[in-house]
Amino acid sequence: MAVYSLWVSKSFRIVPIWTIQNYLTFFQQPSYARILFRTAWMAGVITLITTSLAYFFAYFLVKEGGRFQRTLVLLVIVPFWTSFLLRTYSWMTVLGEKGFINQILTYFGLVERPLTFLLYNKFAVIVASIHLFIPFAIISIYTALEKMDFNLVDAAKDLGAGPVRAFWYVTLPQTLTGIWASILFVFIPALGLFITPALVGGTDGTMISNLIVNQFEYYRFGLGAAMAFVITFFVILLLLTMQRYINLEKIYTQ
């Protein structure tokens, strides 16, 4: 891949001449930079919403799960047993104009006509991706919460802290490792989403992987490989930046 990224392809032929032309093409064409920014933005939104929802759910599991805790954790893992593609397709039947949501809304007279903005846009990609990634986030945060000593929260409350203050100063710092793990496990794969934007993204939800695949389908291995490496550099840069502020080793071994 690294070698290909430094060679160019022309009309279904690879020209083995060393050049950085592919990287220049990527950075010189505003459309590629724009789609990279769009991809990072969408991955960020997916990560933020997924981690927030996962935190609430994991907290509920640990505090209120009781004897059903293990069963609920199992239910979180169950979606892993079904295909990624199938889970994405299922959102087409939920969000479509004749899909589940629109049928419910029209049945109860809440809307006159089916909502058309639910499918084939960024919104659909974000919703479907949250569903795809949330098990990773829940498991990461659940592991951190399960290890936490909740007596400390009681102690904080005894010392006069309200529930919000106790959460902010006691629970959150102790579960940060889980939150960072969730961010990593959602953000990085979200940057590489391909099937989801291809199926439910319409014309406006295209992400960088869709363009990379187009390059490979047209035998343009050089530009495709260079684009893939730009994403890789972006992820490495992100990890190095994170390394300055958090203990990544602790996250990996959590």
Partner: protein, 373 residues
């Protein structure tokens, strides 16, 4: 405890030794006659690695072939001619036996020495091919054809009769804000840009770089008006059937019947005044195909009149086998046969056929810019 643990653990050296012994054993076994199938029987037995469009992969036909010959068909789908070309160029005959392609694409494959001539006389099913396809001029080569004819159709505009009282006369409706988010266009550089070329009065597959730039600008405007770029015709069928879109540009009028079969609303199809381009597709035999004999048997089996008719009844592309027409009529599809002109494929010879664009890389760049816009 330590002893048990030591027994369970495998050192790197131990692992490599075991792999080496296993590999040597396998290599020795392969030399024993009868223990592993030899290359000659592999060519006969298959499996046939078949790279094609998903609408032609009919499970009952593949199962029937397995039952009849004992050979399995390993179907690998693709969406676009250039994607298939790339796959064969990388994988070659070791990985793929048969590859489907449109119109002038087989010529490119053959020129690049990726495929071999098929001796049509050795295939029984070819006896009932329409003469137009039996002697398809651009596929003729010494010893036969460079692709075995499968199906044909013109690209067209399919519209929902509920929203269009008369057939649209121009492709322009795809850009009309009145139909914003209610139209779809088949996705891919070799579909979207040729459509824009037709609007601009250029040759769909022979645009020059300045013309491609103009077509790209038009495609960006198109993108803002359409719902999505379906990657396969089955997706267009679904979008029309559930009325997500009211009109769509795709590869065949037969989608009208596919929508009908899916319980969708009444559809019509038309070729607007700016004209269109069409396709004839076929199966090519990869050079050095590992399962050549089985692959030729598969062509013969899936193209016999009964199986050909079954495929047409699902894909609704134009048949290339004359004997399939009567079977289609018996299947109750006489109306479709008549309306889609299946009995007379002569117009195929006059259609502008799909071909690899002269500036294919620029087509792809332009399409990526459209997607990123």
């Amino acid at each position: 405890m330590n002893t048990t643990k030591r027994r369970l653990e495998m050192t790197r050296r131990g692992f490599l030794t075991r792999v080496g012994v296993f590999g040597a054993g396998l290599a020795a076994a392969s030399r024993l006659p009868g223990l592993l199938p030899d290359l000659a029987s592999a060519a006969e037995v298959g499996p046939v690695n078949w790279l094609g469009w998903s609408s032609y992969a009919i499970p009952e036909v593949m199962d029937g072939f397995k039952k009849t010959t004992g050979s399995a068909v390993n179907f690998i789908p693709f969406n676009d001619n250039s994607e298939a070309f790339t796959k064969l160029k990388i994988g070659g005959g070791d990985q793929y036996d048969l590859i489907m392609a449109d119109a002038f694409w087989p010529v490119k494959y053959y020129e690049e020495k990726l495929t071999q001539v098929i001796d049509v006389n050795s295939i029984d099913s070819a006896k009932t091919l329409f003469p137009e396809f039996r002697n398809f001029p651009i596929w003729k080569a010494e010893g036969g054809l460079i692709a075995y004819p499968n199906a044909w159709a013109p690209f067209c505009l399919i519209y929902n009769k509920k929203y269009f009282s008369s057939p649209p006369t121009s492709w322009e409706i795809l850009w009309d804000p009145k139909y914003k988010n209610r139209v779809s266009v088949r996705g891919g550089a070799t579909y979207v840009l040729p459509l824009c070329a037709l609007m601009l009065g250029y040759e769909p597959f022979d645009m020059t770089p300045p013309q491609i730039a103009q077509a790209k600008d038009l495609a960006i405007k198109l993108k803002r008006n359409i719902k999505t770029f379906p990657s396969i015709s089955g997706e267009t069928t679904r979008l029309l059937a559930d009325e997500t879109v009211w009109a769509g540009y795709d590869s065949q009028p037969g989608i009208v019947w596919r929508v009908k079969m899916a319980g969708g609303p009444p559809m019509g199809w038309t070729i607007p005044k700016e004209g269109t381009h069409g396709w004839v597709d076929g199966d090519m035999l990869a050079k050095g195909a590992a399962h050549k004999d089985a692959a030729l048997k598969w062509i013969n089996y899936r193209q016999n009149p009964e199986n050909h008719a079954l495929m047409i009844s699902k894909a609704f592309s134009g048949p290339t086998n004359r004997a399939a027409i009567a079977i289609l009529k018996k299947m109750g599809l006489g109306e479709a046969v008549e309306a889609l002109g299946y009995e007379n494929p002569e117009p195929v010879l006059k259609m502008k056929l799909q071909k690899p664009p002269t500036y294919l890389d620029q087509y792809n760049d332009a399409y990526n810019e459209v997607l990123a816009s």
